[in-house]
Each structure stands twice: as C-alpha cells, then as structure tokens.
C-alpha cells in the first residue's frame, strides 16, 4: 500500500480543528458566559485566566484555514464563498473579543463597553462556527469544482441548530475551565453553571446526532447499516459513560475532571462527525482526493509539520505550566 498523503493531511487538519475547538472553545465559552459573571473580581479573574493563552489558542484557527488552503485548495475555495456571511461574522466577532483582552484594562470608564464587546464577539464567533459546520454538513451546491449556490443557502433550521449547539457546548467548556482555575465563590458559581450546561450540552448533542442522518441517505447508511453499526454504536455508548462520570465528578467536588471530561465529549462529537462525512471534504460532492493539492505541495508541508507541530505542542504545554494554578485578581508585582 502506498502512503496516502491526502489521508494524512485530512488527519492533520482534523487534529488542528480539534485543537482549535478544545482550546479556543473554552475561552470563547468564558466570553459567552461573561454577562452571567459578577462585575468586579469574578469577571477580572475569568479574564485573567485567559489573557496569557488566548492568542495561542486562536492560532490553531489560522492553521486550520492556512492548512485547508494549502492541502485542499478546492475545498477552501468552495466552503468560504458558500458560507461567506458566516465567515465575515465570525471574523468580526473575533476582532471584537480579541481586542477586549487589552482594551478593558486601559480605561475603567470604558470597561463595561469592552465587556459587552467581549461577550457579544464571543457569542457571534461561536454561533457562526457552529452554523458553518451545519452548512457544510447539510451539503453545498457545487458545479465544476466551484460554489454554485445562492448567498443565503447556508441559512437553514439545521445550521441554526448546530450553531446553538456549539454555543452551548463552548459554554460548558468555559464553565468547567473556570471551575478549574478559580476558587471560593467564583468556583461555586462555575460549578452550578457547569451542572446546567452539562445537561444542555448532552441534549444538544443528542438532537444534532438525531438530525444528521436525515440530511443525506449516505449519512444514514454510515451509522445504521450492518456491520458498521457495531462500531458506530460505540460512540453514543461512550458519550453516556462520559456523561455519568461528568455529573458524578461535579457532585464530588472535583476541580479538573469536569473540564477534561468535557474535552472528551467534544472529541466524541468530532469522531461522530468524521463517521458521517469521511471521505468528503465538501459533502456531498467533493472528496478529499478531488480537493487535494498535488503531492509535491503536500509533501513539502508535511516535512515541516512533522518537525514543528510537536515543538509547538511542547512549548504550548510549557506556557500553560507557567500560568498553572488558580488565578487571582490583583497584580503579581
């Protein structure tokens, strides 16, 4: 068997998307929850738990976009115009929230305004990302390897559903992150939020999973035809197990486990997506091989990626280690 570069690249991009969703997911989630946090120490601590890491988290999104352009240029050139308004909304949302990290400290009188920018920006970005996912899953109209739909094709009940589901899921990541990084009253608050959001996330996952197989017969066959069903049935099973551990650990006062289990839930959701869509880069028309760039381009990047990504992961862990522990509200100096 020959080494299939295209599959390797699909795997690498899948990894980048996963890393992005897990990492930026919690900091977007904290942003969405911001209005529920009390003005003053609670918000300040939440913000400070993110300040040193958010930039690195967001860089995975740039890798996702850049990697898609490089490894699957045709997919990139179809998906982006097809979801144009959503992409623009996401970008504007990311700008609003990104600058808030610095700006809110610059002038106490403007703080309330930047807090609003932080939470609306985070919400818009999360909602758009979820809707982009829905729009891609429901299928994109392609003729001659180019987008051939109208400019509102992305808007559907299904894409709205996935949008809301992702917002809820990010909120859960955010709440469990705060549960880990804070203590005292703030931690109690985060724990209560995590309880509610845990339930909401499971419902959202269930609804999206139930709706997806109805989109295309191909998805349906993937999940329910024998003998594949023996394998695919493991995914919901694992979700149920994870859910039980989540609620028990929450009840027992665990600090770190709820966050890690939530990450696990996201991974399972991602595996579910792969089961539905593989090997399509743009369902239901373009496969990863049709969208791929030539082997020489993929090979050139693979060499760098194989060397550099482990290094990146190493110093990312280091940065998280430097800022480990609970956050406070006041200066270290």
């Amino acid at each position: 068997m020959t080494l299939d570069l295209t599959i390797i690249w699909a795997g690498i991009l899948g990894f980048a998307v996963c890393a992005y969703v897990c990492l930026d997911g919690f900091d977007l989630g904290v942003g969405i929850l911001f209005p529920l946090l009390a003005v003053g120490p609670e918000r300040d601590r939440a913000m400070n738990s993110l300040a040193p890491v958010w930039d690195g988290n967001e860089t995975w999104l740039v890798l996702g976009g850049g990697g898609l352009l490089a490894a699957f240029p045709v997919a990139y050139s179809i998906i982006l115009p097809a979801t144009y308004p959503l992409i623009i909304a996401m970008l504007l949302g990311l700008i609003l929230r990104g600058v808030a990290f610095e700006f809110r400290w610059r002038e106490p009188r403007h703080r309330a305004m930047w807090d609003i920018a932080f939470s609306t920006g985070s919400t818009i970005a999360a909602l758009s990302q979820g809707m982009i996912l829905g729009a891609v899953l429901q299928g994109i109209n392609v003729v001659d390897n180019a987008y051939a739909g109208r400019w509102l094709d992305w808007l559907s009940p299904f894409s709205l559903l996935t949008g809301v589901a992702l917002v809820v899921g990010y909120c859960l990541l955010g709440a469990t992150w705060l549960l880990w990084k804070t203590d005292g009253l703030e931690q109690d608050h985060a724990r209560r939020l995590a309880g509610w959001l845990g339930g909401a996330t499971l419902i959202a996952m269930a609804v999206v999973s139930a709706a997806t197989p109805y989109l295309h017969y191909a998805y349906w066959r993937r999940w329910f035809a024998m003998p594949g069903v023996l394998l695919t049935a493991q995914v919901p099973l694992l979700v149920v197990i994870a859910a039980i551990i989540f609620f028990v650990s929450l009840k027992r006062g665990a600090e770190r486990l709820p966050f890690l289990i939530t990450l696990g839930l996201f991974m399972l959701g991602f595996v579910g997506l792969c089961i539905s869509t593989f090997p399509y880069a743009v369902p239901p028309h373009v496969t990863i091989w049709e969208a791929a760039s030539p082997a020489s381009s993929q090979m050139f990047m693979l060499v760098g990626t194989a060397v550099i990504v482990p290094l990146i992961l190493a110093y990312t862990f280091w940065a998280y280690w430097v800022f480990r522990g609970k956050v406070g509200t006041h200066g270290f100096h």
Binding site: V62, G65, A70, P81, I87, V99, E102, H333
Partner: protein, 475 residues
C-alpha cells in the same frame, strides 16, 4: 442601495480586501520593529543592570501589547479573506501560496503566540533569562512571518518554478527553493524589514521628541530619543540604497510597473527624464503639467544618463496599471524617505555639536514625523500592489479572473460592517496607544495590565480582598 447597483461585486471585494490588508499592515510594520527594540532594551538591562532600560522596556511593552493584539486580530481576517474574496485565485494558486503561508503559521505565529503570554505577563513567574528568551522568540517570530509573507507576495509579483496543470492550477515544478527565493523576494524583504524598523524608530523618536520638549532632563526620554535617532541616521541611507536596488529589479521583471511609477508613457531612446511632478492620465496617455529633469530618469534606472528606456506605449493598453495612483504613491514614499534622511542627518549634526537634547527644532521635527513611517509603508504597498495590476499572479492570472462568485449585496453589507468595526475598534486602540505615549516613562513603570495570577500554592487566593486596587487602574 441605489448607488451600489452600479458597483459590481468584484470592485467591492477588491475595495474590501485593500481596506483590510492596508489596515493590517499598519500594526505589523510597527510591532516588527518594536519587538526587536524591546529585545535590545531587555538585553541592555540584563547586561548593564541600568534601571533606565528596565523602565523603558516596561513602558514600550504596554504599547506593544495593544499594537500586537490589533495586528493579530486584523491578520486573522486576512487568512480567511483570501478564500472569501478570491476563491478562484485560492483554488488555482493554493498549491503554491498555501504551503508558504502554512509555513508562516507553523514557524512564526505559533512561536509568537506561545511566547507572547510569557513575555507580557511572565515577569516574576519565570527567571530573567527565560523571560529574555521569550522576548527574543517573539521578535524572531515577527521577522520569520515577514519573511514568509513577503515570499508569497513576491512570488505573485515574479512567479517562477511552477507548471500549470489540467485544472489550471499552479503547481510546483521542481525545487521549492526556486519558488521561495523568487527573483524579487530578497529585495522586497530587505526593503520591508528596514521599513518596519524605520517606522518604529520614527514612533519612538516622535514620542521622545514630544517629551523632550516638555521635560528635557528626563534620563529615560533622552535615552530612547537618542536610540531612535541612531536608527534613523543609520537606516535611512540603507533604505534608499535598498529601494534603488529594488527598483532596478522591478525594471527587469515588471518593466511596465516602473514606467507607471515614473510616468513614462513615451519611450525615450536617448535617455529618459525624471518626472518630478505632474498629473498622469491613462486616457490621454501623457503626464499633464509635468515638471521634469532631463536624463536623470535613465541615470537612476540604468546608471547611465543616455541609456534608452521603453515607454508604456510599448505595452498593450490592457496591461497598464492605474498610473496616477502608482505615480503618486511612489512619490509620497520617496519624498518621505528623503525627509527621514534629513531628520537622520540633522540628528547626527546635533549630536556632533553635543546639542541633541537641546535642539528643539529637531525635537519638533521628530515629533511631527512620528507617523511618517506608516504613510510611507502604505504608499509603498499601494505602489507594489496597484502597480501589479491587471494581474494577481503577474503575467498569468488576471485579477478579473480571480474573484469569488459572490453577490454584490453580500459584499457591500460586509464591507460596511468592516469599515464600521475597524474604525470603532482600531480607533479606540490607537487612542489608548496615544494615551500611553502621552505619559512619560516613570521609575515605577508597571508591566502590561499586571498579570493577576499566582503559581499554585504560593499565596492564598486574594479574590475578595476589597482594598486591592484593580489591575489596570494602576496607571
């Protein structure tokens, strides 16, 4: 909407891209230089133990944090806009420009992002040496990203090392080194990096000049003003040499662009004049009201006053760039370049007379020229990019064939949204930066919004301690 019916989606998409990319470039051109400046300040502080360097480091670090944040968010927009606005270009040129940009993310952005948190907030949490390492990594990251993105842009200007496959895609033909080190890359890289350093030196010098006029005796202010003026004096001559070499390179590979910059419609078989000013018109194919010096054009471009030069009329009209834009943006850049040279020389002279900190005229000049780097940088890019028209990949892919299948109302709406958000958000950011600059560096200088974190188990959480001042309220 009435007016918009006459503007097509392509024009709107171009306007939008030009707007966001120009806005983006403002921040990197400052943060590239500032990151290196911070590295020097911290190195000097570690080496000499002189507290002035530490004060300056913290002062500029706060400004860096704000500017860098704006660079990051405006840059993320670009990496997606290539697909939203130029999908045909992405599909066709993706196999070449994609990997180069992916390398930028891998080698530069992750490096910056990984070490940025430690640089901004890590003082006291990691050792001095490790903190300095973080600063160096951030500075290195900005330079690496410049290298890659300039390589991409240069390949679009002087494409080499590719074949066109059955789908009309540009695919690598052999070695990637040929593609990376395409003919205009070295010139453009050197010129742009020096431009970024000059931009930073002008800002630092401008802030220094402003404070010297008010508090001439302040040691920190003197130190930064002096450092900035050294940079001006050393780099402007280099930049002019680099620009000259760059122009010769462009004459070789994109002659019509240089002719547009020069305003040469007619061929000059016996030596071209240097057109100083005038009003070029593509419709009339001539420069009206022109003020010119005979033969100097050939002297500059051919290093021989009698050498012949072609004219735009030697090229089909369809290949003319919009000459008035290129002609003027080029003059703005070059004019500012010479003004910078003047400032650098004046500072050298004042220094030699031992009056650098008393010469109020120079302080005024430095202050007024504080923003000149930004203007020159944008003018330079407009020259480069507009001069490349009508192509996106020079000679091979027309701009008119590069855009996405988008509906005009969608693009118009998003253009309006970008303009509103950018002016509001970056306007506020620039306001905060100016306010930071209006205060002079003080002995008790704090870092960026002091990182309110403590390592596990070192201190009990001070969460509800009412009399702690809030972070950020410190300055």
């Amino acid at each position: 909407m009435g007016m918009l019916e006459h503007i097509d989606a392509v024009t709107l998409a171009r306007a939008q891209f030009a707007f966001t990319v120009s806005f983006h470039f403002i921040f990197p051109s400052f943060s590239i230089g500032l990151a290196s400046f911070l590295m020097v300040l911290e190195a000097q502080w570690l080496r000499t133990g002189d507290a002035t360097y530490k004060i300056l480091y913290r002062y500029w670090l706060k400004i860096f944090a704000v500017a860098f944040g704006m660079g990051v968010v405006s840059g993320i927009v670009l990496s997606y806009q290539i697909g939203t606005n130029w999908s045909v270009f992405s599909a066709k040129a993706g196999p070449i420009v994609g990997p180069l940009m992916a390398y930028e993310v891998l080698t530069a952005f992750f490096l910056e992002a990984g070490f940025l948190g430690v640089m901004l907030f890590g003082e006291g949490k990691v050792g001095k040496e490790l903190h300095f390492l973080a600063t160096c990594m951030v500075a290195l990251g900005t330079l690496i990203s410049t290298t890659w993105i300039i390589s991409v842009n240069s390949w679009m200007q002087t494409p080499v090392g590719f074949l066109i496959n059955a789908h009309g895609q540009f695919v690598p033909a052999g070695s990637w080194l040929t593609i990376i080190f395409n003919p205009s890359f070295p010139y453009r890289l050197v010129h742009t990096v020096i431009a970024a350093y000059l931009t930073t030196a002008l800002v630092v010098g401008g802030v220094g000049g402003y404070h010297l006029l008010r508090t001439p005796g302040d040691a920190g202010v003197r130190r930064m003003f002096s450092m900035a003026m050294w940079m001006m004096a050393l780099l402007t001559p280099l930049q002019i040499l680099a620009g000259d070499a760059h122009g010769l390179n462009t004459l070789k590979y994109q002659p019509a662009k240089v002719l547009a910059m020069e305003g040469d419609y007619d061929p000059s078989p016996h030596g071209a004049p240097l057109v100083l000013f005038g009003l070029p018109s593509n419709a009339e194919a001539r420069v009206r009201y022109k003020l010119e010096i005979p033969r100097i054009g050939s002297l500059i471009l051919r290093h021989d006053p009698n050498a012949s030069l072609p004219g735009l009329k030697d090229f089909p009209r369809s290949q003319w760039a919009p000459v008035p834009i290129v002609f003027w943006s080029f003059r703005i850049m070059v004019g500012l370049g010479f003004a910078m040279l003047g400032l650098g020389l004046a500072s050298l002279f004042a220094r030699w007379r031992g009056r650098l900190y008393e010469a109020r005229l120079i302080h005024w000049g430095a202050m007024l020229m504080g923003p000149a780097g930004f203007v020159a940088v944008i003018a330079g890019w407009v020259t480069t990019e507009v001069g490349r028209q009508p192509y996106t990949v020079f000679g091979y892919l027309l701009t008119a064939h590069s855009h996405s299948p988008l509906a005009a109302p969608a693009v118009a709406a998003s253009l309006v949204a970008f303009v509103i958000v950018y002016f509001a958000v970056f306007g506020a950011g620039i306001f905060y930066v100016l306010r930071l600059m209006a205060a002079r560096p003080m002995p008790g200088e704090q870092g960026p919004p002091s990182i309110p974190q403590h390592a596990a188990g070192v201190t009990p959480a001070p969460a509800l301690d009412a009399d702690h001042s809030l972070p950020g309220a410190l300055q």
